[in-house]
Symmetry: C2
Subunit: 312 residues, 2 copies
Amino acid sequence: MNVDPTIATRVKAGEHMAIARLITHIERRSAGVNEVLAQLHQHSGRAQVLGVTGPPGSGKSTLVAAMTARLRELGRTVGVIAVDPSSIFSGGAILGDRIRMADLSGDPGVYIRSIATRGALGGLSRATLDAITVLDAAGMDVIILETVGVGQAEVDVLSAAQSIVVVSVPGMGDDVQALKAGLLEIADIHVVNKSDRDGALRTVSELREMLRLSKRQAGQWNVPIQLTTAIRGEGVSELIEQVDSHRAWMEKHGELERRARRNSATRIRWLAEEIVHDRLKAGRPEFDFAVEEVTARRGDPMTAARQLIDHH
Amino acid sequence: MNVDPTIATRVKAGEHMAIARLITHIERRSAGVNEVLAQLHQHSGRAQVLGVTGPPGSGKSTLVAAMTARLRELGRTVGVIAVDPSSIFSGGAILGDRIRMADLSGDPGVYIRSIATRGALGGLSRATLDAITVLDAAGMDVIILETVGVGQAEVDVLSAAQSIVVVSVPGMGDDVQALKAGLLEIADIHVVNKSDRDGALRTVSELREMLRLSKRQAGQWNVPIQLTTAIRGEGVSELIEQVDSHRAWMEKHGELERRARRNSATRIRWLAEEIVHDRLKAGRPEFDFAVEEVTARRGDPMTAARQLIDHH
């Protein structure tokens, strides 16, 4: 299936059908998709990109639905991308959660999508970044990236977010400890969801202790801890205010620009790795020839690698 | 520190001092080391390369020492490379184990070396492959690669081995289960070491059951399970016989050639990734310029990635 080149115009007009089709092309790596993405990239960079991550059972999806509803009340359009590596196996478990989004799905100011790719996790990361470009160019004010936050690829993909919200729930105990390692450093805002449960205040004080130990430098953003009960919408307005404060702080301190540059660097690196990976695939005559030469000791691996990259 | 270009000649003559110095250059990525390795590659490909892997406490190092002693009795020269990611932190914990090698260390037919790099695990893998080339070109008959076998990088590096020996010990219980996932498929020979301990036969039958479940295809190598008590040298002659049988089997069935090709492909890919990684480093003017262009939406990431790879 090739990509219709006029799709870019329809995506820029915010047509949901065109957005959906283009993201499917991205997942399938259809021919012509890179050219369309190159065009759309010029029209992106305006959206506020949020990452929401937390363990299964933390109520992330409900929180994202509640945030989306609140943002709509404020008149802002919202795109939601659920990164879903599990669906490679299960065929889309996360889509079940999306039912909670049902009351939002008739709203033309909301676009919701699970991203999955059959290939490697690298493919998932790349598809997610590309989907952000699409929703951004389609004029979404806010893009929410929802991930389970397990595994390096999922953490990597969060680097595309300007603000990262890490969701905990009371009574997680050791799981909170486990969060320490990977997620503590990347949280811009901590949320303790299901805050009506026993132990909410203990979770808050555990998080506060972790933040204290992480030794914030003077002039750094002061990571807040927000209590929410997403299912009843409690604390969600305040969370949106925290997110907006973080964006204002980043803008003032040059951090937004720094994160934009980091995001560009990551995208360029991932694409470069992909290009090289494509050139060094078994079945490619130049690669197979190089492997024969190196195996037969007529050539050495370093020279072969340089030639494959430079004279492809 | 630059590499003396005459070092290749001295390595080929089997001089231990030259081997040691070149491997240090490899660990430090000294200027000129790639040219020397390209030369030595032409003189490599003769050695029998064994991988020995197993969890800490399985007596791997003692087994490797016993195998080395037996190979020397058979008149074969031996190079041992201990892959040692832990030494990045501990400053060389494995070197303690090398004391057991002390009685071999005066023998000019044996060369023993721990490999460590301060950088990423990718660097360790690359350094290990390069060290194999050095010992191979230095005329070692057998090269033994000893790894703890934890983590993807360690498993990847085993792809350089022609025969992979996976060491278990009685009473490991769940650890044997954990081995299943990563190491069962790659074992050419299973060793149950410390076989004088209680439960040795149970470990053998557990391994046998795992092998049965893995459904060997007709015409495939029949993975043997060898009992050893390395500390007393028991079962070690038989293990060397198994290793030699495996090599003969591979030679007969074209598998040696297939593994040599796979090894070449891996080396070329790793080097290509490294070349690209060097070109896409912050601080490189071309890369920094591309990041600015993409961030400012004057260029798109795909075009930037292609240009950085092709017009560096």
